[in-house]
Subunit: 249 residues, 2 copies
DNA sequence: GGGATATTTCGTTCCCGGGCGAAACGTGCA
DNA sequence: TGCACGTTTCGCCCGGGAACGAAATATCCC
């Protein structure tokens, strides 16, 4: 069936801890810049650079330049499947399915996407912001890739989600300081959420809201994953402030 | 989803050329002894031994002792899927699908299974031998594993395919010298053919028939795979001697 | 028991590849 | 233009592991 496929070459690409972490970080199809991946892999930028170029040359990743950034993402769904296959075997077995299952659930429930909120929490927040007219627009255009400022901008990513004057007031009341938002970064962007297949809020505003929620103790980062844990006060706050009903568990 | 799976460890197992060849050789679920795998991988027996123990310790293979042999096989279907995933990506892409396709076709058409005939040729030969009463029996019992002398014997593998007196005469006429058959090996065994899902003939008789066909120039081993090429005289011979109709291409 | 064969262990050699920091590019922003 | 930042290239060090042959071990057959 597979005549003389050079499996070993692919294996060698995955065989390194740093590269493996990079692949896992990109596992959900996101596109991330080299610096972030270096951090994710826990190696120096120069080391990550070498890893990334090997992965690209090996056909596992693709790059797209965006100004002085280079965004990397999985070359295709087959690569994602490969990663799945590997992950399925990597612990002696998916024996710990109970723990792993709850972990997977947690990630889908609420997580960070780079520096903003994603998962069910992220999309419900997006809904709430639109419903309460904090944001308007976003009708129709759907970007299959990801349009966050921290993701690779695909053509036409600039769906017109706009902040309303009333929205600015609401968010300031919530504790967002618009004057101190990262200046060199678009305020409102969106991401396509892989677990929800809908948009969530990115951009400097998205990051600021996530930061504020952490500051308020509404959510807390998990130790070893991108999952977020929502506290009791978080459930209350989300309901009262944004009308978001999240069912825990 | 996959929290902290140690993907790199699995990758490292596949990252070596020798181990990759071993995995590919076992890719169809066969169980093979260490010596054969060493040959398949093109390394010394000692080297292969080290590889095999790493693969077993890593959970990709399982071993079963059978006398002084140790038969290795993939630890489970997930491992097979992993290999598939890898093979799907390994050449820059399945771009050379034309060549690869014909190669895959050739392997299904006719190949060696260790030392005897498999693929469509192997199963048609088995049919012919039963139809012409060279062999009798084999009714019902179906071994999901493989019961050849050169494969791992699973419980109940000894389905009663028996050689008939008339069959002995026929085969002697064909050029099989029963006196010189490997004495320490069962004469008639069978394998479950993975590409045809039916039995083909193994054992010392299966090996002798394969050898004789090669000797007669009916079939020729391919360079880089287990595929067999059937010659023009081979098609004629198979038809006249065994009534086997193989459509080339 | 003795000879043959399958497999593993041991000891040695050798090379690939990962890690880092410093410095060189290249691009964007002021 | 000049500074800042993201990324890559370069040079160096170092460890792991893959290879082989020879010898040890285990098992089978006669």
């Amino acid at each position: 069936m597979h005549g003389d496929a050079d499996i070993a070459a692919i294996g060698a690409l995955v065989a390194d801890r740093g590269r493996a972490r990079i692949l896992l970080a990109l596992g959900d199809g996101r596109a991330l810049p080299a610096t972030v991946l270096a951090d994710e892999a826990g190696v120096a930028a120069s080391t990550a650079s070498a890893h990334l170029s090997r992965l690209v040359k090996g056909g596992l990743l693709t790059v797209e330049r965006q100004g002085r950034h280079r965004y990397f993402r999985l070359a295709g769904p087959e690569v994602g499947e490969l990663i799945e296959s590997l992950a399925r075997i990597s612990p002696p077995a998916p024996v710990r399915s109970l723990k792993q299952g709850s972990k997977a659930h947690a990630v889908r429930f609420a997580r960070t996407c780079y520096d903003h909120l994603a998962g069910m929490l992220g999309t419900k927040l997006m809904d709430a912001l639109l419903e309460r007219n904090v944001l308007t627009g976003g009708d129709g255009v759907f970007d299959p890739g990801c349009g966050g400022a921290d993701r690779l901008a695909a053509p036409g990513f600039d769906v017109d989600y706009r902040l309303t004057p009333a929205g600015v007031r609401d968010l300031e009341a919530f504790g967002i300081d618009f004057d101190s938002l990262a200046p060199r970064r678009p305020v409102v962007r969106y991401c396509v959420d892989w677990s929800e297949q809908r948009h969530h809020l990115a951009g400097s505003l998205g990051a600021a809201i996530a930061e504020r929620m952490i500051e308020l103790g509404w959510v807390r980062r998990a130790e070893r994953s991108r999952a977020l844990h929502v506290s009791d006060s978080g459930y209350v706050g989300l309901r009262e402030q944004f009308g978001i009903e999240l069912s825990p568990r």
